[in-house]
């Protein structure tokens, strides 16, 4: 892996003078943020450049299944913020909203292989699937055992036959935590993979946007959203959603997000769930707690018990204002691994 990266100060990279972001040149955003992360969390992570990989400081952990993930940047803290004890062993950050390249996943896989194989956590997007697939082929060629799980929890994608399939969104965060805990506890690759499939199967998500986000190099919002409208069923890449509707109150929005999730699994009376109310990056925490309150009331009305919760900006879309709900049906095993200690830049408890 490459040496520490330093900004080409005298490059022809243009200084930011046009887009309302705290950046220098758009092409340097990811590297500069990585440099910041590396310096901020030397006890937790190491950052390697070209190919860019964020690796747990003590990787590889011998005798432990390695767990890696990756995807385009712009979703912070996912995935880099989840690298550390009890969660990911490595993360591969692509360019903004662009799947990373196989070289990154190959480097990560080699860096975290502790002899028990490596699990690739892949969100279901055409680019991510293909790039991870190529990396897995290359890793296999080098003799590393790789298993994969593809998350596809987004109920906004109604018809999987006529699409690239459901997108992987909020469940990915919960899965990385739970599966990371199992790997930390010593589970073997087959068990870790099976647990990952179980989590993916037990969770569903749905998101909405009040505003479009602005990709640094594009310089303007991905779509125009009039002052009195919102997008329902958005993903996390600034793409428009399934439908555009008139702006509504929090209570109505919560109902729009919760209903398709609850129907899809389906969740039923007596279920115990982890609720994840996620902000898209530009939504203040006060609104997320308010939305959590709405979701809580909906679930109470259905006899579903919230026994764990996560509220905050964890899987984001740059500066998009909006939120998503994720519900994960819990059992004793998932609860135990959710509660297990975790020590990463973005999620930390018990340590």
């Amino acid at each position: 892996m490459g040496a520490a990266w330093s900004r080409p100060r005298a490059s022809n990279a243009t200084e930011n003078t046009s887009v309302k972001k705290l950046i220098n040149a758009p092409e340097n955003v990811v590297k500069e943020a990585l440099a910041g992360m590396a310096d901020a969390h030397p006890d937790l992570i190491k950052v390697h450049y070209d190919p860019d990989v964020i690796v747990r400081a003590d990787a590889p952990v011998r005798g432990k299944v390695g767990v890696i993930s990756g995807g385009g940047s712009g979703h912070e803290p996912m995935h880099g913020g989840f690298v550390g004890r009890g969660m990911l062993d490595a993360a591969c950050p692509g360019a903004v909203f662009t799947s990373p390249v196989p070289d990154q996943m190959l480097a990560a896989t080699k860096a975290v292989d502790g002899g028990k194989g490596v699990l690739h956590i892949v969100k279901n997007y055409t680019g991510d699937i293909m790039n991870f697939e190529m990396a897995a082929e290359l890793a296999a060629a080098e003799g590393i055992v790789v298993a994969s799980v593809v998350t596809n929890d987004d109920v906004a994608v109604e018809n999987s036959t006529w699409t690239a399939g459901r997108r992987g969104v909020g469940v990915t965060v919960l899965l990385e935590k739970i599966v990371g805990a199992a790997a930390e506890a010593g589970a073997d690759l087959a068990s870790v993979q099976a647990l990952a499939e179980k989590v993916n199967g037990a969770g569903r998500s749905m998101g909405m946007a009040l505003t479009a986000c602005t990709v640094p190099h594009a310089g303007k919002p991905g779509f125009d959203l009039p002052e009195d409208e919102m997008e329902v069923g958005v993903g996390i890449h600034g793409e428009p959603g399934r439908r555009r509707v008139k702006l509504a109150g929090a209570s109505a929005i919560a109902a729009m997000l919760a209903a398709p999730i609850l129907e899809d699994l389906p969740f039923k009376r007596g279920d115990s769930v982890l609720t994840f109310v996620n902000g898209m990056g530009g939504t203040p925490l006060i609104e997320l707690y308010l939305m959590y309150n709405e979701l809580n009331q909906i679930l109470k009305g259905k006899g579903i018990t919230i026994s764990r919760r996560l509220i905050g900006n964890y899987i984001t879309s740059l500066d998009m204002a909006g939120c998503s709900f994720t519900l994960l049906r819990l059992d004793a095993e998932l609860t135990k691994f959710w509660d297990a200690p975790v020590l990463t830049p973005a999620l930390r408890w018990g340590l």
């Binding site: 390249v101 055409t126 293909m130 699409t163 690239a164 990709v215 779509f223 890449h237 399934r242």
Partner: protein, 213 residues
Amino acid sequence: MQITAEHVIKFIETVAARIKDQRDYLTQLDSAIGDADHGVNLDRGFSTVVGKLTSVADKDVGSILKTVGSTLVSTVGGASGPLYGTAFLRAGMATADRFELGPDDVVVALEAALEGIQSRGKSTRGEKTMIDAIGPGVDALKAALGTGDDFVTALRTSLAACEAGMKATIPMLATKGRASYLGERSIGHQDPGATSAHLMARALLDVVEGLQP
């Protein structure tokens, strides 16, 4: 008319320059039905490719194309990285050890590229992707050469078919890639990947035309 390794390099350079030129246009198309990165992705990849061309300038066509392919795989990312990367890798395998290609060799290389994209992307024509431009373009080239057309004329016919294929993506409903999430709302927009494919087809014609006496 024979295509030499030097011509292949000229073709790649032309593609790289035009992608840089059309970067914002491609990205803008991707912003309508995707995630606003197609032009930036390809420009990042082809800029890197250009930097590697001198090191393979004296190699066979297959090695050149394989270098292009593996560089694209390593630098583009997204959906188009593995797809165009695989395309150039397969075309490179089809032209291994060759220092000159005749028109029929070009068809063989392009068919291998198309087949590579389809197997990597698990896609077929009519799904509103780059294949909808490449497929008709390759078919037309082969057919035109079959009727005895000279290479430049056949490439012109091919480019027209490629362009028609690109435009045909506008009314299509996307069922592959990011645009598929939009459902009905994907209709009415031209596919970014089909557009970049058409740009490459035009570059091929222009380079070959430039070789004419």
